[in-house]
């Protein structure tokens, strides 16, 4: 007993190296009780929502639940059915295409804008406000605004045709093959500003001496940016990247506002698939199987991150 108490104390000490005094006492204290009471919502949320709810979703994905939860287990039948459903296969293809293109383009344009903003230009703060304001708007607003602009009869297409360019075609949303690109335009419009702001912060965080050194060596500015500055601001790049990826979760809003998954099922996404199956389509079992599949890449990426960090820590300890 005494041994385990000292082990706990030792672990605490490594946990809170800055303040080893607090919480070291193993005996019961009123303030500890207060701390637990005060954080009850956190405990309930962490355990109740992010553990039990996820397990419950997992359990339901092995049942034949329709409208209400049932506990008639059917093994992997829902998963088999899921991967034979064209609606789901299209959803998976779409989220990859949408994710790669909108995150990729947002990163590229965000970086370009940040670099151009960093050229001692005039009216920088005005431009920054202009680039960033769409992020304050909801994706529903974004989607509805762009849907109106991409309207084939009354939107950009007809306006440009009215200027004399009769053959101008720009109405991606009405065509099943191009509708996804319409979504990407809306999504990028909403998110590039944030990427720009984070990248610009990264650029400003870099030591100004780098520029002098690069100039002395006669390296052109664009090469300095790509080969010297970009690797130096990888923290900002990573932050922007993760922010964009987490934002992919919200794709539901923009799909509903712009295409509602159409034309046909051309712009279905996993996020929409799950919600439709637990609401209108009344097939909770299949919906939960799809939800579990959504969790797979998240868990994979987080484990990868944890692994990389663990390796980094081990390497550091070896170096010491």
């Amino acid at each position: 007993m005494a041994q385990s108490a000292s082990a706990v104390a030792a672990r605490r000490e490594t946990n809170a190296t800055r303040r080893p005094e607090y919480g070291r006492r193993p005996r019961f204290r009123l303030s500890t009780l207060m701390s637990i009471i005060g954080t009850t919502p956190m405990i309930v949320t962490a355990i109740g929502v992010f553990v039990i709810c996820i397990i419950y979703s997992g359990v339901l994905s092995f049942t034949d639940s329709r409208m209400l939860p049932s506990y008639n287990f059917v093994g992997l039948a829902q998963y088999e059915r899921l991967w034979n459903t064209s609606r789901w296969l299209i959803s998976v293809n779409n989220i990859w295409l949408f994710g790669l293109l909108s995150v990729g383009l947002s990163m590229v344009f965000g970086f370009l804008l940040a670099v151009f903003m960093d050229q001692k230009i005039r009216h920088e703060s005005l431009l920054r406000s202009i680039f960033l304001y769409p992020f304050a708007m909801s994706l529903v607003v974004t989607g509805l605004a762009w849907r109106w602009m991409l309207d084939p009869g009354l939107g950009i297409q007809s306006a440009v045709q009215g200027w004399g360019f009769e053959n101008f075609r720009f109405a991606p949303l009405v065509n099943a093959n191009t509708a996804i690109y319409g979504l990407i335009v809306g999504s990028i419009w909403n998110s590039v500003g944030v990427t720009m702001a984070i990248m610009l912060a990264g650029l400003r965080g870099i030591d100004g001496e780098i520029w002098k050194a690069a100039r002395v060596d006669g390296i052109p500015a664009w090469r300095t940016y790509i080969f010297i500055v970009l690797p130096m601001m990888k923290g900002a790049v990573f932050t922007a990247f993760v922010l964009q990826c987490v934002g992919m979760v919200r794709v539901y809003d923009i799909v509903i506002a712009m295409t509602q998954g159409g034309p046909g099922i051309a712009t279905q996404m996993p996020a929409v698939f799950v919600i439709e199956h637990i609401t209108d389509r009344l097939n909770v079992g299949l919906g939960m199987a799809a939800a579990m599949m959504m969790l797979v890449p998240v868990v994979f990426l987080l484990s990868l991150l944890a692994f990389v960090q663990w390796r980094g820590r081990v390497a550091k300890e070896k170096a010491l």
């Binding site: 946990n15 919480g23 303030s31 207060m34 005060g38 954080t39 956190m42 949320t45 355990i47 929502v49 992010f50 709810c53 996820i54 979703s57 339901l60 804008l113 151009f116 050229q119 001692k120 230009i121 431009l127 920054r128 202009i130 960033l132 304001y133 769409p134 304050a136 708007m137 909801s138 974004t142 509805l144 109106w148 602009m149 939107g155 007809s158 306006a159 419009w189 702001a197 984070i198 912060a201 990264g202 400003r204 520029w211 923290g235 900002a236 932050t239 919200r250 539901y252 809003d253 506002a257 996020a271 919600i275 637990i278 939800a291 579990m292 969790l295 998240v298 991150l305 960090q309 980094g312």
Partner: protein, 310 residues
């Protein structure tokens, strides 16, 4: 895991956005300069166009739109009728009360959920910084993991749980949902803030015999004003802009503005009143835009805080 996911230094440089350019030295007016301004102006036009189109469309009469006038042109005759209609008489199915009820619902939901979620997160962050009990860090780790979980994974179990408790589709249910999903990032925000305070503050309170709540309300809350401003901005815009939770948890009686906007625009009966739709869209965007323009550089910090999520 949380130690490196949270990058406090990632938030700090954002303040430097405002401290002026550091790029290559200024050149003379050259082709390159013209190219830079050209690119920036085209980009600015891309970002401004939707706002402009929404504005001019909302001021046009329906006949002017439908006879194929140019999308970008200023209206021939300005009418404010669409704005009035969007606010008070636009129809969702047979319910013709405009966006007004949605606005009131959104104000209620946003106000209550912002206060509740921030208060809870502040207590969490405080307890995690100064009163770490056994397994507290494990609980916190799970919570941070929750920041990455797609909402779709946990929504259905939450619906079932709330139905069992008899609160599904009520006002408390939507507030609880916003509190739950705001908690990971807000707790992270407050924990990082409180951990960065000098520990002497806390010790002084302990020496004077203050307990858990006294130290929190007398010492920590007054100290936490700057981080609370960031949290408020984050929650105000986030909750106001929410659509998914509103459709599922709010129920008909508390339908937020974004959901009502979508219903009004997607209603397919009768003639599509594009001008009313655009006025409604702008009305819905007005609150977060006002927050954005009033808060200025704090908004950038709020986003940085959002980035801490990563």
């Amino acid at each position: 895991m949380t130690q490196t996911i949270v990058q406090p230094e990632a938030t700090a440089p954002l303040d430097r956005v405002l401290s002026g350019p550091r790029g290559p030295r200024k050149q003379q007016i050259t082709m390159a300069r013209i190219g830079i301004y050209g690119f920036l102006i085209i980009a600015a036009l891309f970002f401004l166009t939707p706002l402009w189109v929404m504005l001019v469309t909302s001021l046009k009469t329906l006949p002017e739109i439908r006879e194929g006038g140019n999308l970008f042109y200023w209206p021939r005759e300005i009418t404010f009728e669409p704005w009035v209609q969007a606010w008070s008489s636009a129809c969702t199915g047979r319910d013709c009360r405009g966006l007004q009820p949605g606005f009131i619902n959104s104000v209620k939901i946003t106000a209550v959920a912002t206060v509740v979620s921030i208060l809870i997160a502040a207590i969490n962050g405080y307890a995690l910084s100064f009163w770490r009990y056994r397994y507290a860090n494990l609980v916190f780790g799970i919570l941070v993991f929750g920041a990455f979980v797609p909402y779709q994974v946990v929504i259905y179990p939450l619906v079932v749980a709330m139905r069992e408790m008899g609160i599904f589709g009520t006002f408390p249910s939507i507030v609880i949902v916003h509190t739950i999903f705001g908690m990971p990032i807000l707790t992270l925000l407050y924990r990082n803030f409180f951990s960065s305070l000098p520990p002497e503050l806390f010790k002084a309170g302990r020496v004077d015999g203050a307990g858990f709540w006294q130290i929190f309300f007398r010492i920590m809350v007054p100290m936490a004003v700057p981080i609370t401003v960031v949290a408020v901005i984050l929650q105000l815009t986030g909750i106001w802009n929410d659509f998914l939770f509103g459709t599922i948890f709010a129920g008909r009686a508390h339908m937020p503005m974004t959901v009502q906007l979508n219903n009004i625009v997607q209603t397919t009966t009768g003639i599509r009143e594009y001008n009313v739709h655009m006025a409604a869209t702008m009305l819905t965007a007005a609150v977060p835009l006002a927050v954005y323009f009033i808060s200025g550089k704090w908004f950038v910090r709020g986003i940085a805080a959002g980035a801490v999520k990563g």
